[in-house]
């Protein structure tokens, strides 16, 4: 168990992402995750195969989905002898799952594995108010008819009602968008810069589709063959005409066009050791070099909710002896256009890098032509836990096309003030 070997990204699959209440409105997380696995299994000829493990998760989960990933495996063509477990780290779920699988492979505890994620904003669990839930449990515990009657009469019409889970931070009561608006203001991120980033996302994603880039990364689902949110023909004028939805007053900059929409979807990434890959006729696309997570204190207002990756990346760079410019490609998850822009501004800022990161000099800037080159969440959509898998498979393929040694950086922010980042290197 002292072996340390490299884990490779061997391929990926996802279903096209659908808008909330769109074509996947009736699909459950388990349905979608199973579909993503089935496409991955078919692409890599894994039917009947026992893998080391499958690790995946969902951010919004029904209580019945306590063993979501294992159930999806049992519903797939993989060998039923393939173990599985669920993880949940908000929007970092998919990437964190990959870190876990890659680490086990590196340690020699597994030879192969799948990391994935799924989320449905449509088929969301509905929760009854806390007061009603307690009363219902009391009713359920009641043994005699008299006890039952007594418990039942305590339920008042005012107790009734349902709560649909909201994208709200429990400790601040603020939505993610409201949090982001504060950070955008802090970093002086303009409306124009956000719209430009959103436009680039749509244009890059559309171009990638037209070039057939996703032919071996995606399997259609329920009649959808492309991400439903993609607006190939959007323009800076159209984006500029949208009204702001987060932030207050004339200074507000965030719109539905430069924020990710609620979406449904699933993704899965195949990882393995070099030997396992060879035995299965598969070529490593990229090595999973390293991963790092960070969290920030957004509750006190000390740092922005989605700024944790700004801290995770320099720690990982230092460990690897790399600079921010040592990468051929960057994938920064577009939770909001402002997230990407704030993060990059922070890395360019001397004071932030000195005071917050304890660095002598700023990390510097990123060549925008190397950022999210086949589009990101603004265009594709962002079914929370599915984003990590989407990005990993995309980046691994892009790096492989660039040639051996090409390096890529992944950065994903997550609710709870967290962030997961990783480095891939073309095999």
């Amino acid at each position: 168990m002292t072996t340390h070997r490299r884990a490779a990204v061997l391929g990926g699959n996802r279903i096209p992402f659908a808008r909330q209440f769109g074509p996947y409105a009736e699909a459950s997380n388990q349905d979608m995750l199973t579909a993503a696995l089935e496409g991955l299994v078919a692409r890599h000829g894994l039917a009947g195969e026992r893998l080391g493990e499958v690790v995946a998760g969902a951010v919004i989960k029904h209580s019945r989905d306590f063993n979501l990933t294992r159930e999806a495996v049992l519903g797939s063509s993989l060998s039923p002898d393939t173990p599985a477990y669920d993880v949940q780290q908000a929007c970092g779920t998919g990437l964190e799952a990959a870190v876990l699988v890659a680490n086990k492979i590196a340690l020699g505890q597994a030879d192969s594995g799948i990391a994935g994620g799924v989320d449905s904003a449509s088929d969301a669990p509905i929760v009854v108010p806390e007061r009603l839930r307690r009363k219902l449990l009391r009713l359920n515990r009641a043994k005699t008819a008299a006890e039952r009657a007594k418990a039942a009469v305590t339920i008042r019409p005012t107790d009734l009602g349902v709560q649909v889970p909201a994208n709200t931070e429990p400790r601040t009561g603020m939505s993610m968008g409201q949090h982001m608006a504060l950070t955008a203001e802090r970093w002086g991120v303009t409306r124009e810069a956000q719209d430009e980033l959103a436009l680039a996302s749509h244009q890059n994603l559309a171009a990638a589709y037209d070039a057939g880039f996703f032919d071996d990364l995606m399997t259609p689902y329920l009649g959808l063959t492309r991400d439903q949110n993609l607006r190939a023909d959007t323009t800076i004028e159209k984006l500029g005409s949208l009204r702001t939805v987060f932030g207050d007053g004339p200074g507000a900059t965030m719109t539905a066009g430069n924020s990710t929409p609620l979406t449904d979807g699933a993704s899965a990434v195949l990882l393995g050791s070099q030997e396992w890959a060879e035995e299965h006729g598969l070529k490593p696309l990229a090595w999973f070099v390293d991963g790092e997570t960070a969290a920030v204190d957004y509750v006190s207002g000390d740092e922005g909710l989605l700024m944790a990756p700004a801290y995770a990346v320099p720690r990982m760079l230092a460990r690897q002896g790399l600079t921010l410019q040592d990468f051929d490609l960057y994938e920064i998850h577009e939770a909001f256009a402002a997230t990407v822009l704030s993060t990059m501004k922070a890395w360019e800022d001397e004071e932030f890098c000195r005071e917050r990161l304890g660095l002598d000099a700023p990390l510097g800037s990123i060549d925008r032509d190397t950022l999210n080159v086949t589009g990101s969440s603004l265009a594709a959509g962002h079914p929370f836990a599915a984003t990590g898998g989407r990005i990993l498979a995309t980046l691994a393929k892009l790096l492989h096309e660039k040639g051996s040694g090409a390096r890529g950086l992944v950065s994903i922010c997550a609710a709870g003030g967290q962030g997961v980042v990783a480095i891939l290197e073309a095999a």
């Binding site: 089935e38 496409g39 078919a42 692409r43 039917a47 996703f214 995606m218 399997t219 689902y221």
Partner: protein, 450 residues
Amino acid sequence: MARADGYTTFVSSGFGKKLATTLGLPQPVPLRRYVPGGPLVDGPVLVGGHADTPAVTALRAGLTAAGATLTEVVPDGARLGGVVVDLTAAETPADLESLRATLAPALKRLGRCARVVVVGRRPGTSGSVAQQAARRALEGVTRSVGKELRAGATANLVLVTEGSEGAALGTVLFLLSGRSAYVDGQVFRVGEGGAVDAPADAEHPLAGKVAVVTGAARGIGADIARTIARDGATVVCVDIPAAGASLADVANEVGGTALQVDVTATDAGARIAEHARTRHGGLDLVVHNAGITRDKLLANTDEDRWDSVLQVNLLSILRMNEALLAKDGLRDGGRMVLVSSIAGIAGNRGQSSYAASKAGVIGLVDGYAADRALRRRGITVNAVAPGFIETEMTAKIPFATREVGRRLNSLSQGGLPVDVAETIAYFAADAQAAVTGNVVRVCGQSLLGA
């Protein structure tokens, strides 16, 4: 895999059968289809023919080894599973009497879905005119017998090369078996080759082979994938990216791989060859099955419509084959099977583009089969030409037209995708090394273009 149509089920029931007899309606029977582990034929096989019957002599041991009970006399009381009549020694039309004498009494004693296999010689250029006439006469007899047979029985002709009679074993076994359920009134040409050995594993004649099937997401292609996987092949399932969901289901069902590629893409052949090589170590069988129709009278056919059919059904095959028939494509001894159509033989109103493409496919077979370099590499190229096959495609035809299409053949029913697939699997087996350049119709002896 699809079931027999409702009408066939109905007229096979007690009441339905009576009604159909009274009204003189066609009486299709459920066909005998191959089931792994089942018997080769249901009942003894009568063997006979003219003079010293050299083909029967060459095939006897192989037929027996495959489980056939051979007999020289029509048995009392029992039903025959099949008849093999050897006319390879016929020198003049007068010798055809041997055929009549063998077949006539046997035809009255055939069991359900029995098989008549006539074996003759390929009409050569060196023999006498009388010999040519005798050889050609066999086609007329076989086709007529096919039309006389009832209850799912079929008649086919196998033409062999002198000295290579043993090379026809695989073909004769195919025709006797349930694999050829919907193959009727066809002529198979077997070239020069040694006697074939039975495969090491009779139930998996394609064991160890790597195959590519285009258009595998549904319909006939999906059943081709299932059938050759059942026979032991590892299958690369190819279809357009938009069909990826059902393609994945088929690939996972057969334990193969899914490759989302449009066959008209310029690099389709290279990508398929590379996938087969890197994933599975090589390529032994290519089945060009992907196809589309864009039906319209020629007068109303614009350039786009015309072009799309020709691109998918014909030009893509030519382009892909540059990579698939190159040195690092199909392995020596490899097989290629193309999917034509009876529309490509008979033509069809409103299908000029489709018929052009499917007739062109037959031209491809002729061209490749004559290619000496491919022959030297032991690569065979054949085609199937399906008739009316029950698929999603034909389910969309209006009812009346569909009923006519279904019944206008000697078996009075449509074929199933698996029938086409079985014929492809037959071409694909090692045993068919001497079978190239054939276009076999899987049409139940359709009247169209016959």
